[in-house]
């Protein structure tokens, strides 16, 4: 409930008297603002603002009074305050000297105009290209640092690399395994459903073997790892950036690429192929189980049919992509982490960006591999 406050206008002996009464507080500002705007303001007259009835006044109330005075004066009136309670004087003075600023008009955001819209598309495109160039430059920097390690292998951070292998590899096994298993189940079920119409249920095994080994195992693993570890890389390095830890490292003569990026890159490049192999196995296991339940293809039959469908090459076509995907995820994750500015907000923003970018590039690269393999007739 808003406290009672009012402003009354009356004509007295040729001058206009505005009587302010009640509690001129921020809580009654809505009502007062409306009444003040409704006032019929004169021009070129003598106006007295009588504040004798004001019980309480805060800075918003003072602002409203002074704003009214300003508007009146702007219309050529001669304005005076009367009966101002003495204890309100400092507040009025404070607001008058420091707080009477016309709010600046908000600039219309440029993207609300057509030209602004086109310019924004251009800017976003340039920004994307710039980032692509930066990522390439970063890849170059990391490659250079890695090449130096070839000369002096003792500088490789073995323990850090092992820790990364544990975190990104070993700890990811349960989730990767479960999801691959479930995808195998789904594939077998859907495949069987379609192939049964041709009486070709047994080819479900071929479908499973080829699609999981060539594509699904590696793609699924890469996407899970991008979401799980790529984001972690960005968040970890980004938080260090916020804390100025990266700068501290530089001043201590440590190279952040060598200390932070390479262990993550190597750790992931070593473990992702292993994760992919594991995901392949779990996917086939899920498929085999489902084939047994739905199609009555028992495990020995499944294995012998699988032998006919795939060769060792099928496995390698999938696994060979893993180190490339690992490099993409690690490089983008670390690059975005090092890009964090000193605000907590940018950690969140860049973490999201890092996951989106790495999944995007993983899939683009996968498409490129498909083309290369079809040209090579693998």
């Amino acid at each position: 409930m808003a406290p009672a406050a009012s402003i009354l206008a009356s004509d007295e002996q040729g001058e206009l008297v505005l009587r302010a009464e009640g509690e001129w507080l921020v809580a009654s500002a809505r009502e007062l603002d409306r009444r003040l705007n409704d006032l019929d303001l004169p021009q070129g007259r003598q106006v007295t603002m009588d504040l004798g009835g004001v019980g309480r006044l805060d800075s918003t109330g003072a602002l409203l009074l002074l704003r009214t005075e300003q508007v009146l004066a702007g219309r050529g009136n001669h304005v005076e305050f009367a009966n101002l309670p003495a204890h309100f004087a400092p507040l009025l003075e404070q607001v008058r000297t420091r707080g009477l600023a016309e709010p600046l008009p908000h600039p219309v955001p440029s993207h609300h105009t057509f030209i602004g819209f086109v310019a924004r598309i251009g800017n976003v495109t340039l920004d994307l290209l710039g980032r692509l160039k930066d990522i390439l430059a970063f890849t170059g920097l990391v490659t250079e640092t890695a090449a130096k390690l070839l000369v002096r292998p003792s500088r490789l951070r073995g323990v850090a690399t092992l820790v990364q292998m544990e975190q990104v590899g070993l700890n990811a096994l349960p989730i990767v395994g479960l999801l691959s298993f479930l995808i195998g189940v789904v594939m077998a079920y859907q495949g069987a459903d379609q192939l049964r119409r041709f009486g070709a249920e047994i080819y479900t095994v071929n479908l499973l073997g080829v699609s999981i080994l060539r594509e699904l195992g590696v793609l699924l693993s890469a996407i899970i790892i991008a979401g799980r570890s790529g984001s972690a890389f960005t968040a970890q390095i980004g938080t260090m950036q916020v804390n100025e830890e990266i700068d501290a490292m530089r001043t201590l003569g440590l190279d952040p690429v060598e200390v932070l990026v390479l262990p993550r890159l190597f750790g992931l490049a070593i473990t992702l192929p292993l994760i992919v192999f594991y995901a392949d196995l779990m996917g086939l296991l899920g498929g085999a189980l489902m084939s047994w339940i739905v199609l009555d293809i028992n495990i020995p039959t499944f294995i012998s049919q699988l032998h006919g469908a795939i060769s060792e090459g099928t496995l390698w076509v999938g696994v060979v992509k893993a180190p490339f995907f690992a490099a993409i995820i690690a490089l983008i994750g670390c690059y975005e982490g090092l890009n964090v500015t000193r605000s907590a907000e940018s950690v969140g923003k860049l973490t999201t960006q890092s996951v989106v970018e790495s999944i995007f590039f993983v899939i683009v690269t996968d498409a490129a591999f498909s083309i290369i393999f079809s040209v090579l007739k693998v």
Partner: protein, 261 residues
């Protein structure tokens, strides 16, 4: 003897502990209407915890806290909301909402409760921005574009948006250069005088204490000792003595004497 209504904050038998570590052990504190009280103490003595407990951000182990005659620890959500419009809190680094501009930050409390017209909110925001000594164009800037000192001023402007009766300040001058810190002290003093605020000031800054505090509460030995500066200067408790009579205390004190003349 002052009557009960003269105290805007009354803390009784407050016990705060984290795990087995007791921070406050049966602490009493009274804050009078219209005074500036400074809370000081060594690192880890629970100055900020005290502030957070009084405004209800930290639940104490036991004790009684009254703010403006209302029991902070046993409020319904509505009562609590109502009480919150009567105080403003300035956190250490301003705690501005980083996705909003300074003007929008100041408008948040206005928008939440009062449903004021946009134009009036913009005027009030501009008024507060002027009162805390920020340039008019600061209103359209985001917190990340401001310096530390400007962020604190903007945080103060937001704390003042609803014209509170009590202002809680958590280390307002920490991290400011001496000139900015002195200007901030003066600003608080001016605002306190003109708006009739009660100020609950947690600080490490001896200059602030001497410049603006009416009384000082010192947290020592899990207890609190309240008194005027002169009383603390005469206190022979080892920590209090070395705090006020150490090299920095001695440096700040004559400065205050010079300023007073």
């Amino acid at each position: 003897m002052a009557s009960d209504s003269d105290f805007v904050i009354r803390v009784r038998d407050l016990i705060n502990a984290f795990g087995t570590q007791v921070i406050h052990d049966r602490v009493d504190l009274d804050v009078k209407r219209g005074e500036v009280i400074g809370i000081v103490g060594g690192s880890g003595t629970g100055k900020s915890v005290m502030l957070r407990t009084v405004v209800g951000l930290n639940a104490p182990v036991s004790g009684n806290i009254e703010v403006l005659g209302r029991d902070v620890l046993h409020l319904t959500a509505d009562q609590r909301h109502d009480l919150e419009t009567h105080w403003g809190v300035l956190f250490q680094d301003g705690a501005l909402f980083s996705s909003l501009t300074v003007a929008q930050n100041i408008e948040v409390p206005l928008r939440e409760d009062l449903k004021l017209p946009e134009r009036l909110m913009a005027e009030i925001a501009a008024c507060k921005i002027g009162m805390v000594g920020l340039p008019p164009d600061a209103g359209d800037k985001f917190p990340a574009q401001l310096s530390g000192g400007m962020r604190k001023r903007a945080g103060l402007a937001r704390a003042l948006a609803l014209d509170p009766e009590i202002l809680f300040l958590d280390e307002p001058t920490a991290g400011l250069d001496p000139i900015a810190a002195a200007a901030f002290d003066q600003l608080i003093k001016d605002l306190q005088a003109s708006l009739g605020l009660t100020v609950f000031l947690v600080t490490h800054d001896l200059d602030s204490l001497f410049a603006i505090c009416d009384r000082v509460a010192v947290l020592v030995d899990k207890k609190i000792k309240v008194g005027t500066l002169d009383e603390h200067l005469r206190d022979d408790h080892p920590w209090i003595h070395s705090y006020f009579h150490g090299p920095r205390g001695r440096a700040a004190h004559p400065a205050e004497n010079a300023r007073a003349r």
